[in-house]
Structure formats: C-alpha cells, structure tokens
Amino acid sequence: MSKELLKGNVAIAEAALRAGLQAYFGYPITPQTELLEHLSKRMIELDRVFLQAESEVAAINMVYGAACTGVRVMSSSSSPGVSLMQEGLSYIAGSELPCVIVDIMRGGPGLGNILPSQGDYFQVTRSAGHGDYRPIVLAPASVQEAIDFTVLAFDLADKYRHLVLVVADGLIGLMMEPCELPPFQPVRTTRPDWALTGADERERNVITSIYLKGEEMEGYNIKTQERLATIRATEQRWVEHLTDDCDLLIVGYGTAGRIAYTAIDEARSKGLRVGLLRPQTLYPFPEQRVAELAEQVERLLVVEMNAGQMLEDVKLAVAGRAPVDFFGRMGGMVPMPDEIVSAIDESFAKMAQPA
C-alpha cells in the first residue's frame, strides 16, 4: 500500500474500520471530533453501527451494551468526556468485556482548553473509574503509530477480554502526517461463546459486574490481577534511541517523547551523551527496561505535557537507583526542543556537582 497524508483522528477512525470495527458510539468534543465525523459516514457506508449518543455517559453505556454482544466496539472522546465515561469503563472492566476507547487529551482541569496535553495520564492508567484494576493503555507518538496501535488495541482487547485505551495528546489527533493504513480485515461473522445473542439451543449467558459476597468479589479481583500480571509480563512496549552509551536517559511518551529526539540531537552535537526511552504502553509501563537502564545511566529526565504524572511510574521503576529530574509544560503548552535542551543542561550540571 502507498503512503497517504492523513490527520490523526481520521487515521484512527479508518484504522478501526479496517480492524473490523462493528459498532461505534460517541459524542463530539474537540480535539477528537473528526474521528466521530469520519465514522459517521464510513460506518453507514459499510452498513455497520454508528450512533451519536446524547452524552459520553450514554456513549460508554452503549459501548457496554454492544460489547456484551461480542462485536468489536469503540468510542472516542477527549479528557472531559473521558471523565464522564469513568463509571461505564469500570463496569466494562468488571464485566470483563473487550472494547477500545480513544482519548485525545486536552488541557485541564475543568473545561480547560482544546490544546494538546498529557494531563489524563493518572485518569487513564490508574484505574479508569472506580475499583481495583488497570486498563491497557497505548500511547502513540505519530499518526502511523496511532494507526498501528488502534489495530493492536482491538487484538489485545480480544486476547485478554480487557479494556484497552489508546491515549494521545491533541497534537497527534489533529496533525497530518504521511502514513500507511492497514489492509481491510473482514468483519468477524462469529461471536464469542459468552456473548449475549439470545439463549437459543444453549445455556443462557449472563454478563454482570456484581459480586455481593466479599469472597466472590475478591475471586474476581484475584483473577483480574493474574491477568494483569500476564499483561505486565508480556505486553510492555517501548522504543529506545541512543541508549547504548547515554549518561542521561530521557523518558517521554507521545508528542513530548517525540520532541525529545530533536533535543537529543542538539545535546549530542554539544557532546552530551543523552538517550531516550519512549514508552508505547503506559500500562503496562515498561518498568523492567527503565530499571535496567537506571543501573547504567547517571541520571534520568522525565519529559511530559503535564505536572509530572508518568514521573511517578518512572520513580517506582528506578527505585532509587539514580536521581530522576522532571521537565513539563502544562495547560496545553507544548515543550520546545530548546526548553528540553535547557533541562538536559541542568541535569548534566547536577551530575557535575559532587553528591
């Protein structure tokens, strides 16, 4: 297939279609709306289910219902809308249903603004709603990765019967880049054996997230934790850049991680040995590799478009092996490469100081 120039939101929508998306429910919110608009046309053309809901609360519960039927289902939103979805996300997790939710993050808290942000890191990685679980969270840094991760998200959701979030800042949603779409997968014609399709010549199926007895609820919790342990062991994804010889390791994801490449080039031209680890999965966080690299480098520098959220996961992984610095912009401000270079300079200055 040849490359084409696509906007992130449209690319995600088209990738979902090609991954066999059978039902989509959503509500307009900037900077995600093109995703919904694109599907409003394409899903109908392809005779699949599209519905603009009356709110994100309704949208996520429609997703919950459609997920019960065992089809590939998705919703998308941006930060305030994802806040509204939290209860539904938790029910979906409690019911062990596969589905994909896209969050194109914007500045906050509150109504905030429509500029790119990574302020939802806690909201999406900690549990996405109430209760004791974690969704799988994929964080693309380019339009191509947004496409690839959308397809991957459906596969992971089905593989683990687990909620998967694709989380990108607004820049990735709105930016146009050359990219390649995947081939069309045929829409699944069969349903999983647990799906609610009518109890015709089989035992009836029931999908709930209620376990009144403490022992039973804990049984569910233990099962979920075992699944999450498998996910942590097998699904950590990241990319590295110039980590072989670096003294300072930058950790950044999405747009912040991408801007770090330019900053690293500049720092390297000044003779500073800087490398990058860019997490592609925020949950499971690539903790093992960060821990290994923490043994090897002198210092780490976390770069985010928030006040320091992934910073906590980095510190947990580093576990005191090396000092961790932080540079962040907030409120929809995107860090400039030279600002990151200044942060790199500061980290090196600290390294030069006697402990």
């Binding site: 609360v57 219902g65 019911s95 609610l196 109890a199 015709d200 199926n205 999908i207 209620i210």
Partner: protein, 258 residues
C-alpha cells in the same frame, strides 16, 4: 415446575419458561415478583425467550438477570436504556427489554430514557414505579408523592423544595419516537391482567419494529412504606392512581393492528 388439579388432571399452574427457578430476594408482598412473572409469561406466549436479552437495572431488581431465564446483563444505575440501545443496534432482530425502577429511570437515568424514546429505539422498558428508592432503604424518588414520608424526606415530601413528582409516561408520550406508552397498576387481579396485556402489546410493538415501547407499572414497596402488604396495595390504589392516572398515553399508528 407445575401444579396439576387432582380431579381433572389439568395443569392449573406452571412456571414460565422465561423465569429461572431461583427464589427471588424480594420482600414478602412486593409487586416486583408479579411484574417479573408477567414479563416472563408474555415472553413465553410470544415465543421470544430464545432471542431476548434482558437488561437489569440498579435497584431492588438488580438481580432480575438471575430470575429471567434469558440472556441478560446488568446495567449501571440509570443506564439500562443506553445499554439496550447498544445491544439492539448490533442485533436488531433480538428482543431487548429493560426493567427499571423509578429512581433508576426517572432520576439518574432520565436523560437515557428520554433519548431512547426520542430516537425511537426498538426496545421495551418495564418501568416499575413504587414512588420510592427501595434498594437503598426508602429515600425520596422523583415519583414520591407530595407529603409522602421517606427516609430522606422525613417530614413528608415538601414540594416547595423538591417540586412535584414526575409523570414519566406523560413526558415520554410527547416524543415522536415513542410508539406505545401506557400506565398500568399491579394493585389487584383485574389490573394485573390488564398489565399483562399491555406487556404483550409492548413486546409486539418491538417485534413489529414500531419504535420505543414502555409499560409503567404502579407497584408497592411495603417494606419502605412501612405498611402491611395488603395495605400497600390499597395505598397504590388510593394515593398513587389519582396522581399517576392509569391509561394509554401513546398508541402510535399500527399498534392497534398488532
């Protein structure tokens, strides 16, 4: 399970196929049990059990999924209509039924029910209105009558402060997507029979794809009203029926031919 008359050997009672044999957790004298049975009988009579998906609410009927012998799921509080929309849009040939209390439908889920009706989603809602929040121990609902004492309106519902009770059937009937909206009561045998007929019609409306159908059932909650079951039925008749008049609020074209 069935009961056979010894003299005639006729079956005088049998358990609906569409109910499981699990004993319900409802309080003695609660009309939720009657409502369940009516829905199950209607599903049986129309031969719909095998392609029905029930959506249980949050409320006393949270375990409806355990009692209906169909595929079933459990919605978040108030969200059964949205969940039903998701299910029905994927599988339009299946019969999707929500079963909801008045807190669930008229308070936290008021937007959800308005919009299934507005869209004319082909689902059926069984709306059990007992003028109170049963499950959480008897707090005021949007349907609680003026002056009615509840645990959160201990001096009686003050309408100056909380407004008047919502009449959901009347509200939903104004929406063009509604095809069949009626209110019935479960306070005596005659009315229970009428309720059953209405549930049958509502399911036929869904089968025929005519739009949104809802049967509101005036029901009792002896436990949280703090009165005996028989008195509770009388209370429905004397206090609820006057404020929530029984009747047909929306009968769309085509319903009469079913």
């Amino acid at each position: 399970m069935s009961v056979i008359a010894p003299e005639t050997m006729e079956t005088v009672y049998s358990y609906p196929q569409s109910l499981t044999e699990k004993p319900t957790h409802y309080c003695p004298g609660c009309t939720h049990g009657i409502a369940h049975r009516l829905v199950a009988e209607a599903l049986d009579e129309l031969g719909l059990r095998e392609r029905t998906v029930m959506v249980a609410p949050v409320g006393c009927s949270v375990f409806a999924y355990a009692y209906f012998n169909t595929d079933a799921c459990e919605a978040a509080h108030g969200r059964a209509p949205a969940m039903a929309t998701g299910i029905k849009r994927v599988d339009p040939d299946n019969i999707v039924v929500t079963y909801q209390g008045d807190g669930d439908l008229a308070a936290i889920g008021s937007a959800d029910i308005m919009h299934v009706a507005a869209r004319g989603d082909n689902i059926t809602t069984i709306f059990v209105n007992n003028a109170i929040y049963g499950m959480t121990g008897g707090q005021m609902a949007p349907t609680t009558l003026p002056g009615q004492k509840t645990t959160s309106s201990p001096m009686g519902r003050n309408v100056d402060m909380t407004g008047m009770p919502i009449r959901m059937s009347e509200v939903l009937a104004t929406l063009p997507g509604s095809a069949y909206i009626v209110r019935r009561s479960l306070h005596d045998v005659k009315h229970i029979r009428k309720a059953k007929k209405a549930i049958l019609t509502a399911l036929k409306v869904q089968q025929a794809g005519l739009g949104f159908s809802m049967v509101e059932l005036l029901s009792s909650c002896p436990t949280n009203w703090g009165i005996q079951p028989v008195d509770a039925l009388q209370w429905v008749e004397e206090h609820m029926v006057p404020y929530f008049p029984l009747g047909d609020y929306k009968i769309a074209d085509g319903v009469a031919d079913l």
